[in-house]
């Protein structure tokens, strides 16, 4: 017997599977026609999808609006770049990014979780700005130019070795990492821990009277989100060969929030779909006009007004009916 929330999560897994298959299809087509540009773009969409997952953990489950999630994405990217330049190993870079996410998340969480609502949004925004400016002014990190010269890697996955220079190879690697992050998040959100985060979003005042400390739960949520963001960010220098302070700027954080709302808040898989749509819209319209932000702004407003549950608000009921069928 499963309850409604577990069945909803299962409905989302089918949508995630569909996305995964579409990605593999894209990889095959891209490989067949020898494409580089679109595969790189799709890889970027997946990486920013990881950042959006982190925002959804906070916004969609815990009810916390972070306007500075790019802090952890950017830190992960910088730590990964610095590690790779010194010691070109995929696993070391990912390990360093995870450690950054853990410690950074713990510190940031202790600061930001002292407040709620608008103040939480402002504190997260402020922390990201401080870090962005600090990096922007640090010469050894390349200052405003960013850090270039991240070497091409051969990632040893045991059975195969994937080069980050191979568009299709690295696309599939990024797909693997983001899938693992999605799986981790959706697993945790369906445990009693995740349910307590939902309880906090719904009615925080009652949770202590159920016997749980809300500060600990919110810190747990914050650290999870920072680790997910940091691990996603770690992939960025492997894709582009450089990192720049823009990765920590508000535009990155804000785009991640827009992505989650486009895809559907509180669904996890919506964050990934949202990121793909967002990346397509941005680059397609960006190739016509440099004022693509206007179009994205209008699209965002339209979604908020006409599809308040985002894209998943359309797709989920269908999947839910499929999954619930024949079950009490």
């Amino acid at each position: 017997m499963h309850d409604a929330l577990t069945l909803d999560a299962r409905a989302n897994h089918w949508l995630a599977l569909a996305l995964g298959l579409a990605c593999i299809g894209t990889a095959c087509i891209g490989y067949a026609i020898g494409d580089t540009f679109y595969l790189r773009l799709a890889t970027e969409a997946l990486i920013f999808g990881g950042l959006a997952l982190a925002v959804d953990i906070l916004l969609g489950y815990t009810g916390l609006l972070s306007l500075g999630q790019a802090l952890y994405f950017g830190l992960g990217a910088y730590v990964s770049a610095v590690t790779l330049i010194a010691f070109p190993s995929f696993w070391t870079a990912m390990g360093a990014a995870l450690a950054t996410g853990l410690f950074g998340g713990l510190i940031g969480g202790l600061i930001a979780n002292r407040v709620r609502g608008v103040y939480f949004a402002l504190i997260t925004f402020g922390m990201a700005q401080v870090a962005a400016k600090a990096i922007y002014n640090t010469r050894s990190l390349g200052a405003s130019d960013g850090l270039i010269g991240v070497p091409v890697l051969d990632v040893n996955l045991g059975i195969v070795t994937v080069s980050t220079a191979s568009p299709v190879g690295f696309f599939l690697l990024a797909l693997g990492v983001v899938t693992l992050l999605y799986a981790l998040c959706s697993y945790l959100m369906d445990t009693p821990f995740g349910r307590l985060l939902i309880a906090i979003r719904t009615n925080e005042a009652r949770v202590p009277f159920l016997g749980f400390r809300t500060t600990t739960l919110r810190l747990g949520s914050f650290v999870l989100a920072s680790c997910v963001a940091s691990l996603s960010g770690a992939l960025y220098p492997m894709l582009r060969g450089f990192v720049s302070p823009e990765l920590l700027f508000f535009s990155t954080s804000g785009n991640a929030v827009i992505t989650v709302i486009l895809g559907g808040v509180g669904t996890l898989v919506g964050a990934l779909y949202g990121s793909i749509i967002f990346t397509i819209v941005k680059s397609v319209i960006g190739s016509w006009t440099e004022h693509h932000l206007i179009v994205i702004g209008i699209l965002f407003m339209a979604v908020v007004i006409f599809l308040p549950k985002g894209l998943m608000g359309l797709a989920q009921p269908l999947m839910r009916r499929m999954v619930h069928r024949g079950k009490p």
Partner: protein, 247 residues
Amino acid sequence: MIEAVLAVEDLSISFGGLHAVDAVTFTAERNRITTVIGPNGAGKSTLFNLISGALTPVRGHVRLDGIDVTGAPPNRMLSAGLARSFQITSLFFGLTVAENLRLAAQRLEPNLRLWLPTGRSRRARERVRSLLDQFGLADKAQYPAGALSHGEQRRLEIAVALAAEPKVLLLDEPTQGMSHGDTELTATYVRKLAQSVTVLLIEHDIGLVMNLSDKVVVMNQGRKIAEGPPAVVRADPAVQSAYFGHA
């Protein structure tokens, strides 16, 4: 003599110059119903907030089975065996009735289960099933709590407080806003509860108080003015003047 599970001693708090709760002392005996009554503003809800850890007293003690739990936060109070319901219904309205109860029953499980799939928390699930039956909510289990009628929400509010199997249950006006029929129904639930849990109740319906309570504590302007069996308290002249108006 019957053992006191909850002992409140000299409990006090003031807001500015107002002594909202002033040196209140009483006990609640095991598996009995103790009711706190008093006119509006007497400090009953503040007293509940002090006992349940929502507020920290400036003076006095709260003892649970002899253990001093004064000033512990609500989550520790629950672990110590004290749970409460709220006068203003405080549920997870977007979640199903079953999920509201499961969240509340999760404390019955070891902490490790927090990290395993929700379906693995079997004890919590069994608790949910028995509460659904006990409170007549089984056919509404998969409804969102927000879709229940007021009376049903008030019942769920009690069930949520009871889910973690507390020793002491604080019920803040469980019949608030209920029809006469629902009030009677709630009274039977509360009476049944008292077979296995110590109940501390705030209630306005005097008829209900007199026939439900084993002991009545009367408050007025932050102070306790009487304590005893319902019949004795009803006859007390101080209570007559404070509660039923000056003669």
